[in-house]
Symmetry: C2
Subunit: 224 residues, 2 copies
């Protein structure tokens, strides 16, 4: 069955979160990468806990809370200005070069494209605009619309609903293995961009495709 549309995860998949560690390192010399890594772990933890417990808050709030916890946990004296600077970095993450190229080529093929992210609408609009990707995506789909974060079915349901097609006609692309697995569970054809060379999660399911960059997604779509 041909791929009729593609939905992309945002953070880590299209956008490079590396710059957060760099900025954090200017504030807390030598501890930037550790803060960035812990922040990301807690951010994901909090999306899951809030969804499990039906205590939704927008991703920006969850992200800010995770930063507060992470800095405190590491014993860093982070002031409000530093926290705000780190938070605003999320609005202007660089676009991966391979992602920018692939998006342009997919757009030329007239395949409908979307972002399907935990990010709330203001975050997604800012990052797309700052990344000069205006007009590339047909839909910016946010978990905020359903008040549940991925991997809740309600969040993944946004894809087929927006594209008006069956879920197995949509390719879902993520650099987070758990996200690609969650999408596969939901029924997507999913592709894991394994940028870090990580092992597959042991969840009893595999993405339909795996590669190292967005170029591998292009090859997967072309072979379809």
């Amino acid at each position: 069955m041909p791929i009729k549309a593609i939905a992309f995860d945002a953070y880590g998949t299209i956008f490079d979160v590396h710059s957060i560690a760099t900025l954090a390192d200017t504030f807390f010399a030598g501890r930037g990468p550790e803060l960035s890594a812990l922040w990301r772990v807690k951010q994901i933890d909090y999306t899951r806990l809030r969804t499990l417990s039906e205590r939704y808050e927008p991703f920006s709030k969850v992200t800010r809370d995770a930063l507060t916890f992470s800095a405190r946990s590491m014993g860093l004296a982070m002031d409000e200005e530093q926290a705000e600077a780190l938070m605003s970095e999320y609005d202007r993450l660089a676009v991966f070069a391979d992602s920018a190229e692939a998006l342009i080529r997919l757009k030329a093929l007239r395949i409908p494209l979307a972002i399907l992210s935990n990010g709330d609408p203001p975050m997604l609009h800012a990052i797309v605009t700052n990344g000069r990707l205006d007009g590339v995506f047909d839909h910016l789909l946010s978990a905020d619309a359903v008040g549940r974060f991925k991997t809740a079915p309600e969040a993944y349901e946004l894809g087929p609903r927006a594209f008006c097609c069956a879920v197995d006609e949509i390719l879902f692309v993520s650099s987070n293995c758990w996200d690609a697995c969650g999408a596969a569970w939901y029924g997507y054809r999913s592709f894991w961009i394994n940028r870090a060379g990580a092992p597959l999660e042991e969840l009893g399911i595999e993405p339909a495709g795996t590669g190292r960059t967005m170029h591998d997604v292009m090859a997967f779509v072309a072979a379809d």
Copy 2:
């Protein structure tokens, strides 16, 4: 309002998971603590992902999967025998000395006691029996009964249902801050045994009480 019953988390709260790192270290010299820590993180991750995605598997299966992932992720050549030995360690974890004392005293006060755990029934029965705690608990409540792991409301609901009282008449005790927060969200009076001196999670809620050992739980109950 007096505390009418107490529900305890199991792993890390009543039972000490430290011996897992020790055994792992005999298999993979110098890497035991890292394997044990990663295993625990992935175990919790998988409970959350499976609950979010409505793909429940019993805790023993989730725990085994998390071990497989963790060993592979660390590049350890773990054979089936080693994996089984590590898994069976979960059935005979030591009881924390402060927990054993507190449970005996609480039992003498005739307060109804339960374990409310993600562990499946065979795991809970084994650990209680091997820890010589037979007859201490009025109920061994497993998330398996509802097919959802904590912090899903359905899992916490097992407490008031078993004790036949209002949730805010039950004290929920856990050494996992997220678990104490999840229980507080659900409506329990909750107590966090902060054995590791960790910072409070940034979830917009706090346990009703916090301490370092089960003795602090006793003091909390006595002051009630």
